[in-house]
Symmetry: C2
Subunit: 166 residues, 2 copies
Amino acid sequence: MREDERAADLIFMRLALEEAAKAPSVGEVPIAALVVREGRILAQTHNYRELWQDPTAHAEVIVIRAAAAALGTWRLTGATLYVTVEPCAMCIGAIILARIDRIVFGAKDPKAGACGSLFNIPTEPKLNHQVLVVGGILEQESQSLLQSFFKQLRENAPVTHSRSTQ
Amino acid sequence: MREDERAADLIFMRLALEEAAKAPSVGEVPIAALVVREGRILAQTHNYRELWQDPTAHAEVIVIRAAAAALGTWRLTGATLYVTVEPCAMCIGAIILARIDRIVFGAKDPKAGACGSLFNIPTEPKLNHQVLVVGGILEQESQSLLQSFFKQLRENAPVTHSRSTQ
């Protein structure tokens, strides 16, 4: 990886973490995503499953829809998606369908991650689009956000959220 | 499978095929989905990727969002999702996240199907929700719709749609 690409990845992942940190105040799991193209942020959001009562409202799916709306096309060629946690099957599927070039994620998700943990969808050579995957960027910071959130949920029983990112 | 369940599956799949047949007139690939609970259709739609320029606008994702909105909850427990073509990774991921009990699909999708063709996501025992999968219901009718659509696209060159369901 080029030095300037690595520096950009750290900048955008820090912004994603800032976005994720806003989620618990509205009752959402602290996971956030950004879509960036040519150095410009097209969209950024955290999860909205609980507020919207929408099972598809993971940060990645929302941010892809917003970026496509911003550009007026479903093809997000040339874009990079940053997300604080490894995408699940739905989200990596959406990323591939959107023809995103590259994804950068923070923490692994052993329970549902589909970029090397539970599944490894992007490495399937028969897919009609290949996406480059970079994992582990600011992994500790991402994990700390999740751990604090779930610790607080456990302390504030009765629990109204499922204790999983999924 | 019980006889009455089989009969219901045929009824709902025929309705899904009727919905799919409407898609080409608005420039969409003829694939449609229904969410049914307790014998009642909660939502039905075909794909909207081109009209909305939204890469996530597969019939399954749209219908799940609509069914969740109709019920006021992201948990679609007890529901069956009917779709005319085998779901891709994004769609089966969304189905599992929505806690749908059962999916019934028509034609297989060898290029991107994630319920036995390219991937087999629902059989992963580590997932926190198991969905029952029934495939091949009115498979020929579903394939015929797709074949006619792509034949017509080829004949009406210049082609403005990608020649794939994905």
